[in-house]
Symmetry: C2
Subunit: 209 residues, 2 copies
């Protein structure tokens, strides 16, 4: 059946996403990925052409869902700039737990600073999200909600940098925070509320007049 074929492709992508994020691109061998997925090694090349093709598809699968989530927020006229920021932080806090290993994989690849098609594509994708945030911050300045001298690029770097620091170095962060952030329940009950609350307080103090 066609359905089964799609499911199997998707299943391989699921497994590969996990293995890549655990081991990195180089560390995740095609033998390991195919082994974990319970399929023959040759299937990876059969379905995705190459290891890099497989890697690419993992990201492309997510792109569409990334695209329009933030655009609706940016164009919403019923909220002021700070309310949009709060909403942005809420969504961003949710993603930490939901796309944990995808986010890690994403920034791991970007951190390599390769100049291949894949890396450039990923950078463009992330910059699209950044542009939405940039729009909100500029709107806040224009409307007099935010201080005039705020450093927009640095605010963006802070927002994403703090999140990445925590989820990319879980063994460090767990000792820093005092609880195990590799535990899903801890992420849900402690990390998510903590990071949302902190970011709102931090940016409220910095942005608002």
């Amino acid at each position: 059946m066609d359905k089964d074929k799609i499911d199997k492709r998707d299943y391989i992508l699921d497994v590969a996403e996990r293995v890549f994020s655990e081991k990195g691109f180089d560390g995740a061998s095609t033998r390991l990925i195919s082994g974990e997925a319970g399929v023959n090694m040759a299937m990876l090349n059969y379905y995705f052409g190459s290891k890099e093709g497989l890697f690419l598809e993992i990201f492309e699968r997510k792109i569409s869902s990334f695209q329009n989530i933030l655009q609706n927020l940016g164009n919403d006229e019923s909220m002021n700039a700070w309310e949009k920021m709060e909403q942005y932080i809420e969504m961003y806090g949710e993603k930490i737990v939901n796309n944990n290993c995808f986010q890690k994989l994403l920034y791991q690849e970007i951190g390599m600073n390769r100049n291949n098609d894949l890396s450039n594509k990923l950078r463009d994708l992330l910059l699209k999200n950044v542009t939405e945030l940039d729009k909100i911050l500029n709107e806040g300045i224009a409307k007099g909600e935010f201080k005039k001298d705020i450093d927009i690029p640095m605010v963006i770097a802070t927002l994403y940098g703090t999140k990445n620091y925590i989820i990319n170095t879980p063994l460090m962060s767990s000792r820093l925070l005092g609880y195990n952030i590799l535990n899903d329940k801890m992420i849900e009950t402690k990390l998510k509320p903590q990071i949302k609350s902190f970011m709102k307080n931090l940016l409220k103090a910095y942005l608002l007049n």
Copy 2:
């Protein structure tokens, strides 16, 4: 000469540090490192035992200089907590340019979350730095300089996360900031002042009463 031998060892370490941080541990083959350093491949194993031994020595070379830099600050009685924070941010801003590729290599390895001796050693080292910062923040709360409800671990994560985000994704950050942070002159004249100034303003707004 013994001198030359030490110099050559050190030179290999310099080159390896750069290559590792550019390509990652797996991506940096012994052939590439030895080629860049202009020495025979076998020299790496002769001097450092193995590839991992070489990797380890790169970090061990830096550890001693890391140790006591911050301790002097923490024990200084002539400054109040916020002045110490400012001083901390100054030193932290300087390190961005000075130990650029070492910092990158450091967090790249920690991000792997391996459970070998090396990774555990590195985590302990970083936590030592963190402890100093923790001390300053607690002192500020105790003395009534800082708000009582500040989130200390998250402040630390923000400080290091923002820095790492910028230096680990230079191609992203350059587009975000509007200038090329791979250019040393740009780092010196623009990035360093900007990140120092921003961090002081951000934390001043969040920490101070």
